[in-house]
């Protein structure tokens, strides 16, 4: 038995320190890097949030001036969406837990996975370097032209933004490709598509949404960059372009993007609820359908971000109806969760607390969403603080609360140590109350006429008190997060041992050690239900044929797409520096484009092409080639 583990470790483990740091392709290592990086970005963007709240605490404040304020909210929005929430959910949780939940040994393309991370890191650094150069982007997170075009934003601020976004898109897209292939081809034998955990379903739908939603963003940002650097006229009304083209391209991406963050979060909720209610999820197939439906409909509602640009009433009505249609699958989800709770036998632990907080806040955020799909009401509240309230209720309440829940739930698996319950509850209450204090008053600010993206306001008509409350709430949220950090440190120093399955959960990630070995599972699970660990003993079988890797290679089963019958042997690649080399050369390429240094562009392209060539050149004895 230990001999088998030893053999597997020799095949799957890291060889030495250098390969571990720069060459690892282990999805768990990569996922942890994603999580830490995303959290650093959250700290920075959250601090930006505190800066904004401090500036807005009292009227006519002079803490930061308008120029600075514009950079701060642009960075805050961009970083929170692109560098915190999306990568944390997909690159972090998805990367760590999808292979474990489906009983796989790694992602389908481990080196591509490493590449995604490096690109994410470098594009994030590119975006952030602008801040330290004092040239942070300042056109808002949706960067409307002509304001962001060459004429009205002549500096390099917006070039950082556009190039950073294009670069990051490469990471997100390759991540999505990887997830689709992993989920389609690497599921444990017997895990037919109707036995897949709901979190995996969420990741699958999200990955498809990325495949279809990222191109408009990439295209839009490329056209913008060409307008800015090469004098094209896509968005220039004086030479036949149209600024509204940008808005369409951005929101065809932007609306699905919010569900790209929301669907994995929903998957987390559907994972935590059954565990802490000690019962199977109610209406599994309806929940799957709901996710798929939301994914689909989300591509047909982008115009609801453009209700006031003067479109014909008929198309306004159409897109209003589309937005309202999303309510139905959302309602199904809510009621399925309530039914599960109803049926269940509740264990009140921190992860569950965060999920209950989520359920309450997503109702409020969802309802304000429905309110703003009512076109004439949107004419009044759009671009006001009311929208800021809506977007934080759904993003912080609907995405960040599940993220915290997931951290309390899954960190024991990652670190092998439990987090402290009492600190966890303090964290929850501080954050939950602080969050509501911050964002609930913003509804009223909007109704009373306070627009968004203004660096100050007049001491009049109740705005003062509301803003002050919001600021106090923001600092409470920060305190909550600090408690979480303390909790984490404490658990690393002297947390209780987690054991394999501390929550008595039903999905496969709990069938292995905490933290898992590099090869995840010694034997391959052969699954017979949706919650294999809750089955009667013996129902889930373990296939031990891969215990002795042939020639020390990283072997895995490839299974069929629908029924997950084993159909072929796969051999996975080992550690490699190529992903890092390619990502670095691409980073250099983008920097070259940013400053228009053609030598850099040429050298970087050459190096990049070499890296690709080597990448596709199969290693000896390892035919893992494409």
């Amino acid at each position: 038995m230990t001999a088998a583990a030893g053999r597997l470790t020799r095949a799957w483990g890291e060889k030495n320190f250098l390969t571990t740091v720069f060459g690892t392709v282990d999805h768990k290592q990569i996922a942890m890097r994603y999580m830490i990086t995303a959290f650093v970005f959250m700290g920075e963007a959250g601090t930006a949030g505190l800066v904004m709240r401090t500036q807005l605490a009292v009227p006519n404040n002079t803490f930061v001036g308008p120029d600075h304020y514009n950079q701060v909210f642009t960075l805050h929005g961009t970083v929170m969406i692109f560098l915190f929430a999306t990568p944390l959910l997909i690159g972090g949780f998805g990367n760590y837990f999808v292979p474990l939940m489906i009983g796989a040994r790694d992602m389908a393309f481990p080196r591509l996975n490493a590449f995604s991370y490096w690109v994410y890191l470098f594009s994030g650094m590119l975006l952030y370097s602008s801040f330290f150069a004092g040239r942070a982007p300042n056109g808002g997170w949706f960067a409307y032209v002509p304001l962001t075009g060459p004429k009205y934003s002549p500096g390099t601020n917006l070039d950082f933004w556009a190039l950073g976004i294009i670069f990051l898109g490469i990471s997100t897209t390759s991540g999505a490709v990887n997830f689709i292939c992993t989920i389609f081809k690497l599921r444990a034998p017997g895990m037919s598509i109707n036995r897949m955990p709901l979190f995996v379903w969420g990741m699958l739908v999200t990955s498809f949404a990325i495949i279809f939603a990222l191109p408009p963003l990439t295209l839009g940002a490329s056209l913008l960059e060409m307008d800015r650097q090469f004098g094209t006229h896509f968005f220039d009304p004086d030479a036949g372009g149209n600024p509204l083209l940008w808005q369409h391209l951005f929101w065809v991406f932007g609306h699905p993007e919010v569900y790209i963050m929301f669907l994995p979060a929903v998957g987390i909720v559907s994972t935590i609820i059954p565990t802490f209610c000690r019962t199977r999820i109610a209406a599994y197939s309806l929940l799957v359908l709901a996710s798929v439906a939301i994914g689909f409909i989300s591509f047909g509602v982008w115009v609801h971000h453009m209700f006031s640009v003067g479109l014909p009433p008929l198309s306004l009505a159409f897109f209003a109806a589309g937005g309202m249609a999303i309510t139905i699958p959302s309602g199904i989800q809510i009621f399925a969760w309530i039914a599960t709770i109803w049926r269940g036998d509740i264990v009140w632990k921190t992860p569950f607390l965060f999920v209950v907080g989520f359920l309450v806040t997503i109702l409020i955020g969802g309802f304000t969403g429905v309110m703003v799909t009512a076109v004439p009401l949107d004419w009044q509240v759009t671009d006001s603080q009311f929208i800021v309230a809506h977007l934080h209720y759904v993003l912080v309440g609907g995405v960040v609360l599940p993220i915290f829940g997931a951290l309390y739930y899954w960190l024991p698996k990652i670190t092998g140590r439990m987090l402290d319950e009492r600190l966890g509850q303090i964290h929850f209450w501080l954050f939950f109350i602080g969050f509501n204090l911050t964002f609930f008053p913003m509804h009223f600010m909007g109704l009373f006429g306070m627009p968004r993206r203004v660096y100050t306001y007049e001491p009049d008509y109740g705005l003062t008190a509301l803003n002050l409350i919001a600021t106090v709430g923001a600092f409470m949220q920060a305190a909550g997060i600090l408690v979480f950090l303390a909790n984490f440190v404490k658990s690393m120093i002297r947390g209780d041992d987690a054991g394999d399955n501390p929550w008595n959960a039903g999905t496969l990630e709990w069938a292995t050690t905490s933290p898992p070995e590099p090869f995840n599972f010694r034997d391959v699970p052969v699954v017979a239900s949706a919650d294999p660990l809750w089955d009667a003993p013996g129902e889930t079988k373990w296939d031990d044929r891969l215990e002795d890797p042939r020639g020390g290679q990283r072997e895995a089963y490839g299974t069929s797409v629908v029924d997950a019958d084993v159909s072929e042997m796969l051999v996975m690649p080992g550690p490699s520096y190529l992903p890092l080399a390619l990502a670095l050369s691409m980073a250099a390429l983008f920097v070259g484009i940013l400053f228009q240094v053609f030598v850099v562009i040429a050298v970087a392209s050459a190096v990049g092409l070499c890296a690709v060539a080597l990448w596709f050149w199969p290693e000896e004895g390892n035919g893992a080639a494409i």
Binding site: M1, A3, A4, R7, A108, F109, T173, A176, V177, N178, I180, C181, T182, F184, K185, L186, I211, F212, L214, P215, P216, L219, L223, M226, F230, G231, T232, H233, F234, D236, A239, G240, G241, N242, L245, H248, L249, V252, D544, R545, E547, D548, R550, Y557, G558, S560, V566, S567, E568, M569, L570, V571, L609, A613, F616, W617, P618, G623, A625, I626
Partner: protein
């Protein structure tokens, strides 16, 4: 637990939809198709709000060279079918010649495109039409170039003996990508070259 060197009853080398890499290629092609369709939509979006098209007194493109180019590019797919067919029977020569022929046709296509560019009386910065013209055809050209790189890579691997009648996944994916680039050209030709004449 027996561990040990138990049998591996499953095939090691697969192609088609059984290989994860094929799904990777499919999803990649899906995302690229979206990118191209959005470029085309942008073309019609800007056109729909324009008073004249092409703008700024530019004449609609001359169709002769693009038509020849269309034939060349479509023809370049044929040797790839043949190459794929050959390697599935272990015919290495057919594989190499097929890829080489296709590469050559791709190169001629690109050369003719570049010649077209050099003769145009306008630049990408003239107006929105010109920008679209250059970006759509240029973007497609980049894809042809990438396809040729993949072609060269496959050629090199063929010489290194990476392929035989069981192992031809790389061949299959390189040629499928090329077919995709071909199909996109049909749309580019119809939209950028023909539509200003007929619509």
């Amino acid at each position: 637990m027996s561990g040990g060197a138990s049998a591996r009853p499953y095939p090691r080398y697969v192609a088609g939809t059984r290989a994860p890499a094929t799904w990777g290629l499919f999803t990649f092609i899906a995302t690229e198709s979206i990118l191209f369709s959005l470029l085309f939509s942008s073309y019609f979006y800007l056109r729909s709000s324009a008073t004249e098209w092409p703008q700024g007194g530019i004449a609609a493109s001359d169709l002769r060279v693009p038509a020849i180019n269309t034939v060349i590019l479509l023809a370049s797919s044929v040797p790839l079918f043949w190459a794929e067919h050959s390697i599935k029977r272990g015919n290495q020569t057919g594989l190499r010649v097929g890829f080489a022929l296709s590469f050559l046709l791709g190169a001629i296509f690109l050369a003719l495109q570049l010649r077209e560019y050099s003769r145009l009386p306008f630049q990408a910065n003239a107006n929105a039409y010109a920008s679209l013209y250059f970006v759509i055809t240029g973007f497609h050209g980049v894809h042809v170039f990438v396809g040729m790189l993949m072609n060269g890579m496959t050629q090199a691997r063929a010489w290194a003996g990476h392929f035989d009648e069981k192992r031809y996944l790389g061949v299959q994916n390189a040629s499928w990508y090329w077919h995709f680039v071909d199909v996109v050209w049909i749309f580019v030709f119809a939209i950028v070259y023909i539509s200003p004449h007929v619509l």
